[in-house]
Symmetry: C2
Subunit: 163 residues, 2 copies
């Protein structure tokens, strides 16, 4: 009796070539593009993107947020946020506010200085982003976003003023 081919030669399931291509491109391109923007910020003497994102999320929410409500959308583990906030608080960019309803935690709110810094960063971030992405046009960007969101199952958020 013949052995079934499928049962024999599948020691590991191998992603199709298109999937592999997409995977590789995703890793490389996102890294490359991200780096370019980080570089622009650093070159301007500004903090890294994660600081921006914290400030932006707080500003966008329009009200103080619990750390956990930031950690989820930022996709970073709580201990990382905790220390990020330590640093930002030390620079006077955000403040931890005693939380009445739940005495374990606290609320995070941007300070005036934090607000200002976010704007300064956006002034560098926005053009850098545009520059890093200039090789595709709007229609392509839309299609790209659509495919990525399908891949990741994540909904839309924007990232700065007048978006």
């Amino acid at each position: 009796m013949r052995l079934q081919q499928s049962a024999l030669k599948t020691p590991t399931r191998i992603p199709s070539d298109p999937l592999q291509r997409a995977w590789v491109a995703l890793g490389r391109v996102s890294q490359s593009v991200q780096c370019r923007v980080e570089e622009a910020l650093k070159h301007a003497g500004l903090p890294e993107l994660s600081w921006y994102t914290v400030l932006w999320e707080l500003e966008r929410a329009g009200k103080p947020l619990r750390p956990k409500d930031l950690a989820i959308p930022l996709f970073i583990p709580p201990y990382q946020l905790s220390r990020l906030v330590d640093r930002m608080e030390a620079e006077g960019l955000v403040k931890r506010i005693q939380c009445k309803e739940d005495k374990r935690g606290h609320m995070l709110a941007p300070t005036a200085k934090g607000f200002t810094l976010r704007k300064e960063m956006w002034a560098v971030y926005a053009p850098a982003m545009e520059d890093a992405m200039k090789r595709i046009d709007d229609a392509e960007a839309l299609k790209l976003a659509e495919l990525l969101n399908k891949l990741g199952g994540i909904e839309h958020v924007n990232c700065g003023d007048k978006g």
Copy 2:
């Protein structure tokens, strides 16, 4: 005389909404997908992806490589590669070979153990990649890869056996 509008109201150039969407999606999705694969490797008690990539590039090249020839395609700074190789060498996965032509540097080659490990990793990596990417089909993956490559201007490489 009237001032030109364009000269007046462009304190910062703002990326179009499609561009912003693509940017955000790129960051979030790549991180999410990457994490899932790293997690699978860690869960299997295997080293992180960068180790795989070093081993794979060496194996793919089919001959010993100079560190700089690895650092470029891996898109990591030389000092990072230097330490990565330190660790991998300490585990007996690669070896540094004295280089005749250029006594500053050396060649990197995988050991038998390194070769074996790469295969073990691929057995976990491949299904994890497939799983992380399963929400899009081949046609979409191809389109995605195409758009990403246009965005980043990077050519195709695959990432494992029988690709």
